[in-house]
């Protein structure tokens, strides 16, 4: 179990972290969300002791993280980094060795992961000769090669094509299912909603929302409303209380409204006004929660 408690960190006048706390248990996958500059990367770097927090603690299984723990952690930094001229297989084996694997273990793991990502035939090629997407796959393999107990990935999906996103999602699901603690940051909220049971949303250095995605949705004070009518849908809204935001796209209207608002009367009025082609009233999506939280 990874436990991050009350982290504070300033760079000059900028408060990157201002009391950031979250927890991640083995077998779980945590989506770590937040706008740019919210403090995601800083928090991840502190977990790996790359930066010292001004105050606060990071513990693994109840003990402060020490250098030995780091060998059981896997990290994929936001800024990708591999030796461009080193062969893909050698590179992974080297990182495996640094994490304490024997020579043959490291070799085998490197081969296994490259095969897994469909790069088995590129094992002897320098990393710089691989395409961007394939370099990204090698980078993920670099975080996985030593079979870590904790996996921390900073924006693992950015810049990947849909096929690569699928491979990476599968691997992350598998890792969590195998009892590893997995966390990753992302701006692709639909993907996070698909993959993660838990989320933590950070804004201005503080965790503003955290918990199970489903529970958060149910407990949210807002609802997601979608309707499509013949004619102008916006006039209908004037009769609705507690509207937070609306978005129209032709005859389709999306609105975020108070959870307490009674929509039954609204449906009746909409039906009176014209032909109602589509109507949906649901718990908010993760995107809705996110926008609400960081506004």
């Amino acid at each position: 179990m990874l436990s991050v408690q009350d982290l504070h960190k300033s760079f000059g006048d900028i408060h990157a972290l201002d009391g950031c706390s979250f927890e991640l248990a083995r077998g779980h996958m945590l989506g770590f969300l937040g706008p740019n500059g919210a403090g995601k990367t800083t928090a991840m770097r502190i977990v790996f002791r790359l930066i010292n927090p001004d105050s606060g603690t990071v513990t693994w299984d109840g003990e402060p993280v020490d250098p030995d723990d780091l060998l059981r952690f896997g990290y994929m930094p936001e800024q990708r980094g591999l030796y461009p001229k080193m062969r893909a297989g050698d590179q992974l084996a080297y990182l495996g060795r640094l994490h304490g694997m024997s020579k043959s273990e490291a070799r085998e793991a490197a081969e296994m992961w490259l095969d897994r990502f469909g790069l088995g035939e590129r094992i002897g090629d320098p990393v710089e000769s691989l395409s961007h997407g394939n370099q990204q796959r090698v980078q993920l393999a670099a975080a996985l090669v030593h079979d870590p107990d904790l996996l921390v990935l900073d924006e693992p999906f950015s810049g990947l094509d849909p096929i690569a996103v699928e491979t990476m999602s599968d691997v992350l699901r598998e890792q969590a299912a195998a009892g590893k603690a997995v966390m990753f940051s992302s701006h692709q909220l639909d993907l996070v909603e698909d993959l993660c049971e838990d989320v933590a949303i950070i804004n201005a250095g503080q965790i503003v929302v955290s918990g199970k995605v489903e529970e958060l949705k149910d407990a949210a004070p807002i609802r997601h409303l979608e309707l499509e009518v013949e004619g102008d849908p916006t006039v209908l809204l004037d009769s609705l209380d507690g509207v937070h935001s609306t978005m129209t796209n032709g005859s389709r209207l999306t609105a975020i409204i108070d959870a307490e608002t009674d929509v039954r009367g609204f449906i009746a009025r909409a039906q009176d006004a014209g032909k109602l082609r589509h109507f949906a009233y649901t718990t908010p999506s993760l995107s809705d929660l996110f926008r609400q939280a960081v506004r």
Binding site: R45, F48, R49, L50, I51, N52, P67, D68, L70, L71, F73, Y75, P77, Q79, R80, G81, L82, Y83, P84, K85, M86, D90, Y94, L95, R97, L98, H99, G100, A142
Partner: protein
């Protein structure tokens, strides 16, 4: 992997990756080719005659000179110009001959077939000229011995193993057997200077590259900065020594084969002493270069930040040239106690036997303490500088931001 295991892994990676790189193989091949060319080419094309002038005072000199010419040209191919030619100028007395020697009219003066006077015994050319005359004087004596009857072979051997001519040098300073030590010290000095500039730059750009391609963040997430820096220095240092030793072996073999000039006999002790100071000097500069490399994000900026170290190496080199000429002088003594110049100066003063034991030991202690302190300081600057991107990080900023 813990402690030195990780350090060794880093070193191993440096060695295998660099040894495989075209740049390393090319520079190694080029260095060896240049050294070979410098040794072999003059021997192949330099078929000209080396001319010298010898002053002669008294009797018994003409035979030595003519024998020296015969010996020197013994291996000439027929039809080629002779390898050496010696002109003899007669003088009435020793004093007038010495005046001529000092004015450069003659290269050496022979007195009564028993003494040779030269400007100084230092320098490679001077010594081989004296050796030539010694050999020739010995040959003359052997011929005389053989001409007499009833002599024992032992007498001949005794003549062969002695230097029949007494050497008088006008300028003092260098003891005769100091010559080879000076040569070794000078050679070592040059190697250290080149190694600091060349391989120091490798360490510098190696660190900057890891920072600019961001791989360092992956490394630092599992191992400590001192393991990365230490491994880098060990790996590049090993490659440096392999490249240098390779070059030296090629040079020595080429010299033996071509006989371009006589290698002075070299003592194991002076070589070991040189090696010790080479390692100390390389370590001090390597740690500094490594820390400097962590302060910049782009290799373009690396050269600027290397300036202070390069300057220190240049100063060290010139200070030790001064020490070569004046090993007891104030410059030599003061620079013995400065860690950045000591590795250059101490071997020179040791070779010339011009350093008191306490100064030698003090310099050793100062340098070792410096390495330990620098490793700590540089390690922290390195750790602090590595994750700061964009432009150039100040030393103080890096120190403060280091995660310890």
């Amino acid at each position: 992997m813990r402690g030195f295991g990780a350090l060794w892994q880093v070193a191993l990676r440096e060695i295998t990756e660099r040894a495989r790189s075209k740049a390393y193989l090319l520079t190694t091949a080029l260095t060896i080719l240049i050294v070979l060319a410098l040794i072999v080419l003059p021997d192949l094309f330099g078929g000209g005659t080396s001319e010298s002038t010898v002053g002669s005072v008294g009797e018994g000199n003409a035979e030595i000179v003519s024998t020296a010419v015969d010996l020197g040209n013994a291996n000439d191919e027929p039809g080629d110009p002779p390898s050496i030619a010696i002109e003899t100028v007669e003088f009435d007395d020793r004093e007038s001959a010495i005046v001529a020697l000092e004015e450069g009219e003659v290269d050496a003066v022979l007195v009564d077939g028993e003494e040779v006077i030269v400007e100084s015994v230092g320098g490679f050319g001077g010594s081989s000229f004296i050796n030539g005359l010694q050999r020739s004087a010995g040959t003359v004596q052997i011929q005389a011995v053989i001409a007499e009857e009833g002599q024992q072979a032992a007498d001949i051997i005794e003549i062969l193993t002695s230097d029949p001519l007494e050497v008088t040098a006008l300028s003092g300073g260098v003891a005769e057997d100091g010559e080879s030590k000076t040569a070794v010290a000078y050679f070592g000095l040059l190697l250290l200077y080149l190694a600091v500039l060349l391989y120091g730059t490798w360490i510098l750009t190696g660190v900057t590259e890891e920072k600019s391609n961001r791989v360092v963040e992956v490394l630092l997430s599992s191992i400590r900065p001192w393991q990365i820096l230490g491994g880098k220095i060990l790996g590049i240092g090993t490659l440096a020594i392999v490249q240098l030793l390779g070059t030296i072996v090629v040079a020595v073999v080429a010299l033996r084969v071509t006989g371009a000039f006589d290698l002075p006999p070299i003592e194991t002790a002076s070589v070991l002493n040189l090696l010790l100071w080479f390692v100390i000097g390389f370590l001090i500069f390597a740690v500094l270069f490594g820390a400097a490399g962590s302060l910049v994000s782009r290799t373009e900026d690396a050269n600027t930040i290397a300036m202070p170290m390069s300057m220190a190496a240049v100063v060290g080199f010139f200070v030790s040239i001064t020490a070569l000429n004046d090993p007891d002088g104030p410059v030599a003594v003061i620079s013995t106690f400065i860690p950045l110049t000591a590795p250059f100066v101490v071997p020179v003063r040791t070779a010339l036997e011009a350093i008191p034991v306490w100064q030698y030991l003090a310099a050793l202690v100062i340098c070792v303490v410096t390495i330990v302190v620098l490793t700590f300081v540089a390690g922290r600057i390195y750790a602090g500088g590595l994750l700061r991107y964009g432009g150039r990080v100040g030393v103080r900023e890096a120190w403060r931001s280091a995660a310890e």
